[in-house]
């Protein structure tokens, strides 16, 4: 028996050398391209022993097949089995000598790996962890050996099927891929040992269920291979090695052609769907940042660590901001507001929903601007709280009030300028007759005809008018009235507001009169600037598939002319697009518009300020 084992091990020497060569080359490549001492623990143990994954499983499977395909069958092919039968060894002894030598050869793969891992570990260890983690090494070795046992046994069975073994393997692989779609446990990636390791602290938990599964399948395959080697295999081999019948060849060629077509189809589909990124393309990766949570008396805040200074400066004053707003509304309830400062939306400085705020810290670096935004958004939260969230229920008719009051509070309490100085946009709109209250209370109409941004500018004037006419407490009272749904149910627009004003003990007519009065005063204050900004007369030209919009008027110093388009009346704000003007003209492609009409807007803009657009205009596309 020993002589037999010696002979078998001698036969495996070339394969052993091959494995040694592969391993040496692999680690040699690493050693020649990076210092080994820089290998992190995670990379060394994780990639090298623990999370070996599907790629490693495939490599071991290929090695197992390469080793097993000639192991038993070659004795039949070369007719050496007859000589061996004549020796004083049984087929069983012969089988197990072959199996054992092959298994030991395969086991050489992880063993050599482990030696290299230990060597690199000796070079790369740091004071944070000096351990060599022999427990992980032994677990990995055990799992790899189980995997090899199973693969080698399967390879031995398949070797008796000759080339049909590959077909059987392919069919098995496809079946598992399909089965894996319906039963996740059967997904091949979940069936790999050392694929998705689980740890309890530092202890690697052995996936016993999978290990037993591998052992069972491996043992069954080994028994089958043993049976075939004892006798059944000779018949099978003779049948498979017989003259190739036309039918057999047709099946083989047909299957191969089908595979080629499927592969070609998949390749074509992949190329069409995802243009592959060039492997030589420059890629830049920046490190991520964690977040910080901080609570003040009123706010529970989360912000990114990369903006900690900015956030902390604001939060040091946040309770003061809240106190100013709450005092204005005479609001005494205990309210905790969650603030998410991790949002980097380019469209908003902040948003409020229920008791939650989102604040864009990147929009401003200076503290006053951040206080203004926090004050604005806090106003929204308090208004909703006062109204028992009924303002939101009447959004279309109430938006101007919500945004107007928030802008009013923001400007009155958190900005140094006089309120009237900040009302240039309102003055301009009044000058052009675009400040109608009837339209202001209908948000959909405002957006469709002009600009939903007017809710801020004109709403602020309306809030100021209420305060001037009825006092500071009036706005809080109006919001509180909304809490009683009887005053708002089934109403909208002016009717809704009339009902709310009446229930609050105020007169809407007086408020509206005050609003127009305030607008006229504002118009007079800004008369000089308004005079420099005459109504723009756009020139529109259609050329092939392009629409050009521009004007020959020259804006005053510090102002520029802007043009924007929308695809249809129903387009939302984020679906508008502003175009860059070249020689006073901006263009859009006609196929960007829905139907046979092109929508555009023209207006003025001061640097770093919101533009003031004229109402939307429509051009028929011929």
């Amino acid at each position: 028996m020993l002589a037999l084992l010696r002979k078998e091990f001698r036969s495996r020497i070339p394969f052993l050398l091959l494995i040694l060569f592969f391993t040496l080359v692999s680690y040699g490549a690493q050693a020649l391209t990076e210092p080994l001492s820089l290998t992190s623990t995670e990379k060394l143990y994780g990639d090298g022993l623990i999370e070996l994954g599907m790629e490693y499983a495939i490599t071991v499977f290929v090695l197992s097949l390469a080793l097993s395909y000639g192991l038993l069958v070659r004795e039949f092919d070369d007719r050496t089995i007859e000589f061996l039968d004549a020796l004083p060894v049984s087929r069983t002894q012969l089988f197990f000598a072959k199996w054992f030598s092959a298994f030991c050869t395969l086991a050489f793969v992880p063993i050599v790996d482990i030696f290299f891992v230990l060597g690199i570990r000796a070079l790369s260890t740091t004071s944070l962890d000096r351990s060599y983690h022999f427990d992980w090494i032994m677990t990995s070795l055990g799992l790899q050996l189980v995997q090899m046992y199973c693969f080698l046994s399967i390879g031995l069975v398949l070797s008796f099927l000759r080339r049909f073994g590959w077909l059987a393997l392919g069919l098995f692989g496809w079946s598992m891929m399909i089965a894996g779609r319906f039963i996740p446990e059967l997904d091949l990636s979940n069936l790999v040992l050392c694929g998705d390791p689980q740890f309890f602290g530092k202890r690697w938990l052995v996936p016993w269920q999978l290990v037993f599964g591998y052992l069972a399948v491996g043992s069954l395959a080994l028994l089958m291979a043993y049976g075939l080697f004892l006798g059944g295999g000779r018949v099978l081999l003779r049948w498979l090695a017989g003259s190739e019948s036309r039918a057999k060849q047709v099946v083989l060629v047909g299957c191969s052609a089908a595979i080629v077509f499927v592969v070609l189809g998949i390749m074509t589909q992949t190329i069409l769907e995802e243009p592959p990124e060039s492997p030589d393309a420059v890629r830049v990766t920046y490190p991520g940042w964690a977040t910080t949570s901080r609570s003040t008396e009123t706010y529970d805040v989360v912000f990114p660590n990369n903006l900690a200074n900015r956030a902390n400066r604001l939060l040091d004053e946040a309770d003061g901001v809240y106190a100013s707003v709450a005092e204005f509304f005479d609001f005494e309830e205990d309210l905790r507001i969650s603030v998410d400062m991790t949002s980097f939306s380019g469209h908003h400085l902040g948003t409020a929903y229920w008791n939650k705020l989102k604040l864009n810290l990147t929009s401003h670096e200076d503290l006053p601007s951040l206080r203004q935004t926090l004050g604005h958004e806090t106003t929204h939260v308090i208004l909703e709280s006062l109204s028992d969230n009924q303002l939101r229920e009447n959004f279309g008719s109430v938006r101007f009030f919500h945004e107007g009051v928030a802008t009013y509070v923001e400007r009155r309490f958190f900005m140094d300028e006089e309120l009237t100085e900040l009302r240039l946009n309102a003055a301009l709109l009044q000058d052009r007759g675009d400040a109608s209250f009837d339209r202001l209370v209908d948000n959909d109409r405002l957006r469709a005809e002009h600009d939903s941004f007017l809710a801020y500018e004109l709403g602020e004037v309306f809030a100021a008018a209420i305060v001037r006419r009825f006092g500071d407490e009036a706005i809080g009272n109006l919001a509180r009235t909304f809490a009683d749904r009887r005053h708002s149910e089934g109403l909208s627009g002016v009717l809704l507001w009339r009902s709310i004003f009446q229930a609050s003990g105020y007169s809407l007519n007086e408020a509206v009169d005050e609003y127009y009065e305030l607008l006229e005063e504002t118009q007079q204050i800004h008369a000089d600037t308004v005079a420099q900004l005459p109504e723009l007369r756009p020139i529109v030209e259609l050329e092939d598939a392009v629409i050009w919009v521009g004007t020959e008027q020259v804006p005053p110093d510090g102002w520029e002319i802007v043009v924007r388009f929308r695809s249809s009346t129903n387009a939302t704000d984020d679906q508008y697009w502003v175009v860059k003007l070249v020689d006073g003209y901006g263009y859009a492609m006609l196929d960007s518009f829905v139907g046979r009409a092109a929508w555009y807007q023209i207006g003025y803009r001061q640097r770093n300020k919101m533009p003031i657009y004229q109402p939307w205009k429509k051009v028929r596309i011929p």
């Binding site: 047709v250 052609a257 077509f261 490190p287 903006l307």
Partner: protein, 626 residues
């Protein structure tokens, strides 16, 4: 007799040829439909796609049947018994296969031409150009596979070697294989080039095809065809292993050359550029901003003087881009793939920007990269970290302790937290215990002390040797470090015993503390305990009890925590979550996150100390939830 030979091959392989032709034509139809649906520009483009895919497969299959099958089955011996010359037999096989492949391709071309003629103008010259392209292509590819068929058992390893060699050649040199030979004939101009014949490629292909035929005939005819017969035999086990070794070696060579290839430098459009003294600095130019211009000067001057001081052979290009959503004291090093240089991000247009804050980061990152990270190893890591503080300090102060230098105050505070000889050797662990700022300041004190005790020149030569930038970026750097540990470097450059220096240095920082003790003793020291409080059978909360002695001026304390994997290694602090809480003596802080049994976490508490201009910590603790 030739007719008999053809008949024999058709009887033997006819069904296979019929199947291959039918499948190829079917495949072509699918490609044609696909091309039409994708609006590829011309239906003729489908011929190109067919040529480089299905036509190649067809040539391989036909050559395999006509040549490999014949020789591996040794049936050519029967043919040699017939009254026909060996060369006639080979030519018959060659021409039979060529006619089949070329006819199929011609059918596809004519069909595509018929469809294309309904949509575009097809001139005679255009047809001739395309015909010359695909005929030459079929000729060279078919001849190649015919020749390879005669190579018998070596053909598959040779395919692999050839493919890999071409890939390596293409990667390692500027050779673009798609611009030469057959690939240039069926490139994306195939369906659109109407005027010029691709003469060079045509000549290349016809010549190559001729050479392939010549080699094939040589193998089939020399020594009465015995070469081809011998090559057609099955591979031995050793040959298979040898082939595997050769192919794997080629793969390794390819990946090795790819790894070692230095990519082009990164680029920033609109940058302020400073290029002189072998140092290049690019700072992104932001609209209407002059800070970048000044910053480029500052960084360039710093790198040049550092380069001279440390005798750095080559400094990689440094790129700095602005990012507004960073605090002015936060910086980001980028990881670059397929581009060389050091790329950093900072908010230098911020009104709070201070170059002095950025400087230690710049020095640390630059030197780490320049030295290929060799300087980050224990026990010499303290030198690199100390240098990033020492370099700005030595310009502002002399080698005497100075209370107005924050770095000296921090070092004195570090003594309060305890620093031993083994801490210097176990730098990562020490840094975890006292925090990055304090550890760097202690390291800086070592360099200041060394300058005072041994002189600036000796210190300079020590620093040059420790942070050698001419180390190769591979295992030789490890070997060098093993051969020349810091003790030896110290001995060689300073001329004294390293251990003795460590003892003297720690005594010196102790006296530094004594000098500043009145001020330092008032600075709070943080300690903290933690307990895991069960919330359910498998979920726990981390409750931390911080202690601050003496009490801090500020009443807020930060808890920092992070879930860990099973591996203990250095983690950047920026990845740790933070929680700012009010501090009252004896109060506890419950971390806003629950942890499952079996998970691991590290945590610390920290406090900003204005006197030190940095955070102090209670020390990172790594724990497992049990």
């Amino acid at each position: 007799m030739i007719r008999t030979l053809i008949r024999k091959d058709l009887i033997e392989h006819g069904w296979m040829f019929a199947m291959v032709i039918a499948m190829s034509l079917f495949g072509f139809l699918l490609v044609l439909i696909g091309t039409t649906l994708q609006e590829a520009g011309s239906s003729l483009d489908s011929v190109r796609f067919y040529g480089v895919t299905l036509n190649i497969v067809m040539s391989m299959v036909i050559c395999n049947r006509l040549v490999v099958h014949e020789y591996s089955g040794k049936t050519q011996l029967f043919l040699e018994g017939l009254p026909v010359s060996r060369s006639a037999m080979l030519w018959t096989k060659y021409l039979l296969g060529f006619v089949i492949v070329a006819s199929t391709m011609a059918c596809c071309f004519l069909f595509a031409l018929a469809i294309a003629s309904r949509q575009e103008m097809i001139g005679l010259r255009f047809v001739l150009i395309m015909t010359s392209r695909w005929v030459a292509f079929v000729f060279v590819t078919y001849s190649f596979f015919f020749m390879m068929g005669l190579l018998g058992r070596y053909r598959i390893p040779l395919y692999a070697c050839l493919g890999l060699s071409l890939m390596i050649l293409s990667d390692a040199t500027s050779l673009d294989i798609t611009q030469h030979g057959p690939l240039a004939l069926l490139n994306d101009k195939f369906a659109f080039e109407r005027f010029e014949f691709p003469v060079r490629s045509l000549v290349e292909c016809v010549t190559a095809g001729g050479v392939f035929i010549g080699i094939a005939m040589l193998m089939g005819l020399v020594r009465e065809g015995s070469v081809a017969s011998l090559l057609a035999e099955r591979m031995s086990h050793r040959e298979k292993l040898f082939a595997a070794v050769v192919i794997f070696s080629l793969l390794f060579t390819g990946s090795f050359l790819d790894e070692k290839r230095k990519p082009d430098p990164y680029t920033i459009p609109n940058a302020y550029v400073r290029e002189s003294n072998q140092v290049s600095v690019y700072v992104e130019s932001i609209e209407d901003d002059v800070v970048g211009d000044q910053l480029a000067d500052q960084i360039h001057a710093d790198l040049v003087s550092m380069r001279d001081y440390l005798a750095i052979e080559s400094v990689p290009e440094l790129f700095l881009v602005n990012r507004r959503d960073l605090d002015s004291d936060q910086f980001e090093p980028a990881k670059l793939q397929n581009a060389s240089g050091i790329l950093l991000r900072a908010n230098y247009v911020s009104s709070d920007w201070k170059y002095e804050t950025f400087r230690p980061f710049l020095i640390d990152v630059s030197l780490s990269r320049i030295s290929h990270f060799n300087a980050i190893h224990e026990p010499q890591c303290w030198v690199l970290e100390g240098f990033s503080e020492y370099w700005p300090r030595h310009e502002a102060f002399d080698a005497q302790w100075n209370e107005s230098a924050a770095v000296d105050r921090r070092a004195a505070y570090g003594v309060l937290l305890g620093v031993e000889e083994e801490d210097i050797d176990q730098w990562y662990r020490y840094r975890d215990r006292v925090g990055e700022s304090i550890a760097r300041s202690i390291a800086c004190s070592g360099l200041v002390f060394a300058e005072r005790k041994y002189g600036a020149e000796k210190l300079q030569s020590f620093l040059r040797e420790v942070m050698r930038t001419d180390q190769p970026d591979d295992v030789r750097a490890d070997l060098h470090r093993l051969r020349l540990p810091i003790e030896k470097v110290w001995q060689q450059t300073i001329g004294s015993d390293y251990r003795e220096f460590l003892r003297d240095w720690l005594e010196e920082v102790d006296s530094l503390y004594q000098t500043f003790s009145e001020r330092i003793d008032k600075i709070p020291r943080l300690t903290a305990d933690a307990s895991w409080v069960p919330k359910s059978a498998i979920t726990y909360e981390l409750v931390i009890t911080p202690r601050c002695q003496p009490n801090a001026e500020t009443n807020s304390i930060t808890v920092r925590y992070e879930e860990l994997s099973a591996f203990d290694q250095w983690q950047p602090d920026r990845l740790a979550e933070s929680q700012i809480e009010l501090y009252e003596p004896g109060s506890t802080i419950t971390v806003n996150e629950s942890f499952a049994v079996g998970s691991r976490a590290r945590w610390t508490t920290s406090l900003y100390v204005p006197q030190l201009e940095c955070d102090v910590i209670s020390g990172w603790q790594r724990e497992e939830v049990k």
